[in-house]
Amino acid sequence: MEVGQMQRQWLDYTRSLFIEGFLDGQFLQLEQLQDDNNPDFVVEVVSLFFQDSHKLLNDLTIALDQKSVDFKKIDAHVHQLKGSSSSIGAQRVKNCCIAFRNFCEEQNTDACLKCLHQVKQECCLVKNKLETLFRLEQQIMAAGGSIPMMELSF
């Protein structure tokens, strides 16, 4: 596949991620902060997010499995996950967290468990999507091309 085709594929794929709500404008902000001096900024921040979220999701699973559920602790974890997902533009994960916190406030264990399941799914989905996106980027760079920037209008 030649570079032009790969770039168009990258653009289409990126657009779909925004249209389907996986990513929001904050992700574009991240890309704008990347430059020749910081060429891996987006990948670094995103990787950090997945490391972070992995641990938080584990902690949440354990916390919700307790006989006496500590909703304050759970809320603190979800607050952190909400913050970091918001910071990287992972919109669907963020929205799950918002719902999750509401159920924490209501101290509704069943609803919280459902939210946890959902947020795990959303993290998994966006992780796969972003990995695909980064792979496309690597292919473009390897073929000597550059990542088309900010031609996204929607």
Binding site: Q29, Q32, F41, V45, L48, H79, I88
Partner: protein
């Protein structure tokens, strides 16, 4: 230390989230700020030399000619609100209560839009309150606050010079 020779302002960023620290650091560096990022209020105070000041004040007979840590020159502090142990608000208060640090502009960041929280911080002396995720446009708002404090420093120096000129005139008269 020279006057206009130093081109860079030094910002101290405080946030317990590593991702947010990375973000704010990049945002600030893109705007040509020199950045120090720490993960807690207590580390921020330590960096600012405030811990030493409190210890000095506890000794009644000690006359402290300089309570300001001369090695650290911070032009602005930007801190997250929600942090364990010491919140951004607590940090703001400690800075405003400190003789040596109270003139450093402080900006608060928060992921939550709580009007009472925002008002509390502004009333306590915060210059701005940014909602997270912080944008480039927010960082662009920082410059006027920095230049204001630089101008103040220069004026104070002018006053000192004028006094000594008068003193000299009196001596020579």
């Amino acid at each position: 230390m020279g006057l206009a020779a130093e081109a860079q302002f030094h910002v101290l960023a405080v946030d317990d989230s590593l991702i947010d620290r990375m973000l704010i650091e990049r945002l600030l560096k893109t705007s040509s700020f020199h950045v120090t990022a720490v993960d807690s209020g207590s580390k921020a105070l330590k960096f600012l030399g405030l811990v030493e000041e409190e210890q000095r004040n506890e000794e009644p007979s000690f006359v402290a000619p300089k309570t300001h840590n001369q090695d650290v020159d911070v032009n602005l502090i930007i801190t997250d609100y929600c942090m364990p142990e010491m919140t951004g608000y607590d940090l703001l208060r400690k800075i405003k209560e400190s003789k040596s640090l109270k003139d450093i502009p402080v900006v608060i960041m928060s992921s939550e839009n709580v009007p009472s929280r925002i008002n509390r911080c502004l009333e306590e002396g915060a210059e701005e309150f940014f909602l997270k995720p912080v944008q480039q446009s927010d960082v662009n708002k920082l410059r006027p606050h920095l230049l204001k404090s630089k101008v103040k420093e220069v004026r104070e120096e002018d006053q000192v010079i004028n006094l000594s000129r008068n003193d000299i005139k009196e001596i020579l008269a």
